[in-house]
Amino acid sequence: METLEQIKGRVEAAVPGASLEIVPNDNPAGQRSLLVDNAHALAVARLLRDDPSLRLDYASNVTGIDWLDKVVQEKRKVKQVIEGVEREIEETIEHKKPGCLEVVYHLYSMELKHGPVILRLRTVNRADNARVPSLTPVWRGAEFQEREAYDLYGITFEGHPDLRRILMWDEFKDFPMRKDYVEPEDYEYEPTPHDQLLEKARRHYPS
């Protein structure tokens, strides 16, 4: 199979306007992935499926990731005049990095027996605009898995044929896999609580 750089170059040439980004991976597996912009995701997916040298005809796994808003601290050296002497001091700048929800597709080719190629789509934010285009029209097998991501992460897949909750009941309002999910207080007893659980037990049964 071609390298990710080659795929990226070819896709960008074939789909006008599409901007792909290779997401690096620092861990020992080193499995990099392609971040696709939402506007062209469907066209890119079709190309990956139909291209004769790729033929990624099988979406084996669709999953979600919750990236919280975070404050990034950046240190940089600034020259300042203090008491008439110019000195270099370190200054910390904090800027907010907005969070988002991410969908990850693992693609394989049954026909050419290669893969995986990993696609990522990101929503604009975690609240009112948690939308990505659905890739179910391209890979039919993604239907239930996208429903699951909708159910547990609250990602709205635009163009999905039947977007309903799949595991939790329809009346349920929360998204349990989000990092800021607060679970109901129905905990009662644990024989040997430790760490986080110990905190929970203390809150429940103040001694």
């Binding site: 595991l167 939790m168 349920f172 679970e183 109901p184 129905d186 009662e188 007893y189």
Partner: protein, 204 residues
Amino acid sequence: MDEGLRSELSKQGVFTTSLEELYNWGRKNSIWPLGFGLACCAIEMMAASMARWDLARFGAEVFRPSPRQADLMIVAGTVTKKMAPQVVRLYNQMPEPKYVIAMGACAISGGPFKQGYNVLKGIDRYIPVDVHIPGCPPRPEALLHAFMTLQRKIDEQALTGAQRPRHLVAEAPSEFPVPEYGEHDLEPANNPAVWQPPTLVRGA
């Protein structure tokens, strides 16, 4: 009846009994379970009913496909919050007298999913449970043991007096409230008439 006289009579070939004993003897030897399972514990339950462990030796081989004909509900497996109302409804549809065995870690406490958001932390939060079996899953022998425990329990039930079973108490509820699907959890989260959170005082 005097025990000594009774054993004396039985040596002479005269069998004496009371209506209570006869009634309980009949009931305990024909407990028909409801044929339903929720997870992997159900596989052990099936094994217990097949030739090797043979639940038929205890008169319980007839797994009924309808709650209307069942005496015993074996809650075999993880009860998710989504499934809990249906389990309670099935229990409500069984005729009295009815018994419940909670089989396995999940059914008695939530088991390995206790800290999760989607699993009911024990079916005893909604319906009265007669026998709890720990294990993940419990072996068929454990189910047989639970079964014999239940038989002993039925055998010892007095039909009159304050200790009489629920089905002979006119004021006892015949139906248990089925929980509703709420926005964050089941509503109510437990049936206070059946289960209260334990009051536990931890040492400092």
